[in-house]
């Protein structure tokens, strides 16, 4: 069996209800575990971008891409290896406030990790750290012994080093549509 590799799959879609279910079902049907999944509006108004991280054999990734792309409301799918993308994850850490004031070590950890203090109250404070998995993971390990109250990490978000021609694709559709209307009126 071929070795598995990490791929970041970027899915550009229409903003339609139920699409998340439709896309995740493609992975479910093939027994592929999703490492991370995030979605947001993209650079184009009303077009959404899913960023999905999976570990999969290199001969299967192209098949997954075309299965997702086949869905009616999906505009285009791209996949990239880690070296082809700029990617980050965010993490939030909630800790009791006393450690912030009583443990010098905690202040050093915050300083060295470049984490940001989001809020401080009498009972707790919240740190935010954005970076690579190993960075948020190291911070989690460092803070664990100080009574980490809550920890949460986001899915990967990523942009690609290469250009993704979504605007061109949408422009082409608009152009064809205009051509067709003009033909209809002739």
């Amino acid at each position: 069996m071929m070795a598995k590799k990490t791929y970041t799959v970027s899915v550009y879609t229409e903003n339609n209800v139920g699409l998340l279910n439709r896309i995740s079902a493609i992975f479910l049907k093939r027994h592929i575990n999703i490492d991370s999944f995030s979605t947001s509006e993209s650079e184009i108004p009303n077009i959404f971008r899913f960023v999905i991280v999976i570990k999969i054999e290199s001969d299967r990734i192209e098949k997954i891409k075309s299965q997702i792309e086949k869905q009616v409301d999906v505009i285009k799918v791209f996949y990239h290896t880690d070296s082809e993308t700029i990617f980050q994850e965010s993490a939030l850490f909630k800790l009791p406030s006393d450690v912030l004031f009583e443990k010098r070590q905690v202040q050093n950890i915050i300083k060295n990790s470049h984490a940001r203090i989001v809020t401080v109250s009498r009972e707790y404070f919240v740190l935010e750290k954005t970076g690579f998995r190993h960075e948020t993971e190291k911070l989690r390990r460092d803070l664990e012994k100080f009574g980490l109250l809550q920890f949460v990490r986001s899915g990967r978000i990523s942009v690609t080093k290469s250009k993704l021609p979504i605007r061109d694709l949408l422009e082409k559709f608009k152009q064809n549509h205009t051509d067709q209307i003009n033909t209809d009126h002739e």
């Binding site: 409301d73 064809n176 549509h177």
Partner: protein, 575 residues
């Protein structure tokens, strides 16, 4: 909705009507004149409109929602139009699901409409509420829940466009009850494009050129075609390529009937119960040209040994089918109607008499070992094959043959003769027992001037036997042939060959089918003697209206040739 192309139908001022009436008007605007369905609480407003529009839209009341959607499939398969089935929420909707899965895997254009509880009740576990959108998502080409009457025209236009364009498939529209009752301004525009979906692919000339080169160089080329040829209306283009190139051609069961059976270059069926030559020579050809087919495991057997010696060209519309199961040397993406024509224009006329002789020699072996005894047995009970042969004798290959799933299906596909396309209706990819009887009803209504013969096993028949009621009430003149061996024959065959004859739960103790048919006022007869078969078949085919003929066949007949599951195609067995 953004990103949709439309074209107006008429230029009337908007009508102020209920959502339910809008639904019926959408169907009429899409030229739908027959729909199959079953009423219930959450779809009653639409049924009320169907009552008012009954002169323009014929609703066929089936006996189960599964019957409705299979009928819609049968209708679509023979007419090339979109079939429509309608049901209520909850159990009505879930009863459609098998058919939706069947239509998905067999690329059949159907639109299923399901009622849903009112939008304010969604998620409250209301009476007959089921998440049919969630359930149907992985098995629909597209689905959508309408919660607002204003959405109806655009969603219906998009649904029909998606179901029929590109590689066809099922679409499900779920409509909450409030959206059926609410009033809206109705104006219908047909959908002509969706920006996130590109069903039309322009064939690349350089791929055509490469295909032409490969075909011109080949010494032992072979074509394998599938349903893509029928869905793409490319039968004439396929025939022209075959005739100009002189290349022998084999088919998958969904491709059956695209080329007349008696065409000299039609070399029979591929796959598990396909012809001996078709399977053996797949692993001897030097070029395999796959047209509108998807290399299903029942066709290829073991992928590691499938046509490894050959260069493979794949003519395909659906990009996700390319290199999915079999890695090919050349992909010609696009509608095979275009690619076949372009390739035929480019190639030089040729013939391959020595190569074709191989097919003939192997056919002779298959004939001596298998076919002769099946179509012309001298003793014992009747066989499935001789029954099909008798049907051929009277229909002369002009009938639509609808089959269920199992031994009788394989035998019918092997022996039934066809002179025209869109004449073989069967559940291929999903293998849905119970498909044939309702699908045959739809087929007869989709092609009312043609003889429609449903060939069904005693097992599958009892899965949708209640549709005899629909056949009687609607007077659908379908001929039903039950090949009764009192067994679930295909499973029994596997038990015999691979499970040391442990016949676990495959023997059926059956009711009197003739009496059952009589109960439904359908003329019926049982035949179990060879000397009466000919006359019985002719009587059935000449009868006006529906007819059920039960043929008692050998109990432990096996279907050969056979490529055991997962084995190499060249290990095809004749006994």
């Amino acid at each position: 909705m953004e990103g949709i192309k439309t074209s107006s139908v008429g230029s009337n001022k908007p009508l102020h009507i209920s959502g339910a009436e809008a639904i019926v008007r959408c169907l009429l605007a899409e030229d739908v004149d027959i729909i199959y369905g079953y009423p219930g609480g959450a779809i009653m407003p639409v049924y009320d409109e169907l009552y008012k529009f009954q002169d323009q839209l014929h609703h066929v009341l089936t006996r189960h929602e599964q019957g409705a959607a299979h009928a819609a499939q049968g209708f679509a398969r023979v007419s090339g139009k979109v079939g429509v089935a309608i049901a209520t929420s909850g159990p009505g909707a879930t009863n459609l699901i098998t058919c939706v899965a069947d239509a998905m895997i067999d690329s059949t254009p159907i639109v299923c409409i399901t009622g849903q509880v009112g939008a304010h009740l969604l998620g409250s576990d209301a009476f007959q509420e089921t998440d049919v959108i969630g359930i149907s998502t992985p098995i629909t080409k597209w689905n959508y829940q309408i919660t607002n009457a204003d959405e109806i025209p655009e969603v219906f236009a998009k649904a029909f466009y998606i179901a029929r364009s590109g590689r066809p498939g099922p679409v499900l529209i779920d409509i909450t009850k409030n959206a059926q009752f609410d009033f809206m301004d109705f104006e219908y525009q047909k959908c002509t494009g969706v920006r996130s979906y590109e069903p039309e692919i322009i064939v690349e000339p350089k791929k055509v050129k490469k295909a032409v080169e490969l075909i011109n160089q080949a010494k032992k080329p072979m074509i394998i075609w599938g349903q893509g040829v029928i869905l793409g209306n490319a039968e004439a283009e396929l025939k022209e390529l075959i005739e100009k190139s002189g290349i022998p051609a084999i088919w998958t069961i969904l491709g059956l009937s695209a080329l007349p059976t008696d065409h000299p270059l039609n070399m029979g069926m591929a796959g598990m119960h396909g012809n001996y030559a078709a399977n053996l020579l797949t692993n001897q050809c030097d070029l395999l040209i796959a047209v509108g087919m998807r290399f299903d495991d029942r066709v290829t057997g073991d992928l590691n040994t499938y046509a490894k010696q050959a260069k493979i060209i794949h003519l395909e519309l659906d990009e996700s089918e390319v290199n999915k199961n079999v890695l090919v040397d050349l992909v010609v993406l696009g509608d095979c109607k275009d690619s076949l024509r372009l390739i035929t224009e480019g190639i030089k006329p040729n013939s391959h008499p020595l190569w074709i002789q191989n097919f003939k020699d192997l056919y002779q072996i298959e004939y001596d070992k298998v076919i002769k005894n099946e179509i012309d047995p001298k003793s014992g009970l009747l066989t499935m094959a001789e029954t099909i042969e008798k049907i051929n004798k009277y229909t002369k290959g002009d009938a639509i043959i609808v089959t269920d799933v199992g031994q009788h299906q394989m035998v019918a596909c092997r022996y039934a003769k066809f002179t025209q396309s869109k004449s073989n209706v069967t559940s291929g990819g999903l293998g849905t027992m119970g498909f044939a009887l309702p699908a045959a009803m739809g087929a007869k209504m989709g092609a009312p001037d043609r003889q429609v013969v449903a060939i069904i096993g005693d097992g599958g028949f009892q899965m949708t036997i209640q549709e005899l009621g629909t056949i009687f009430q609607t007077d659908i003149g379908v001929k039903i042939v039950i090949l009764n061996n009192n067994f679930l024959g295909m499973v029994r065959q596997w038990q015999q060959l691979f499970f040391d004859k442990r016949y676990a739960s495959t023997e059926l103790i059956n009711p009197d089918f003739v009496t059952i048919a009589k109960g439904y006022h359908i003329k019926s007869k049982q035949v179990n003697k060879r000397e009466e078969l000919d006359k019985s078949i002719s009587e059935m085919l000449n009868h006006e209206g529906p007819y059920l003929l039960e043929v008692i066949v050998q109990q432990e007949e096996n279907v050969f040739p056979m490529v055991p599951s997962g084995a190499c195609v060249s290990s095809v067995r004749l006994e």
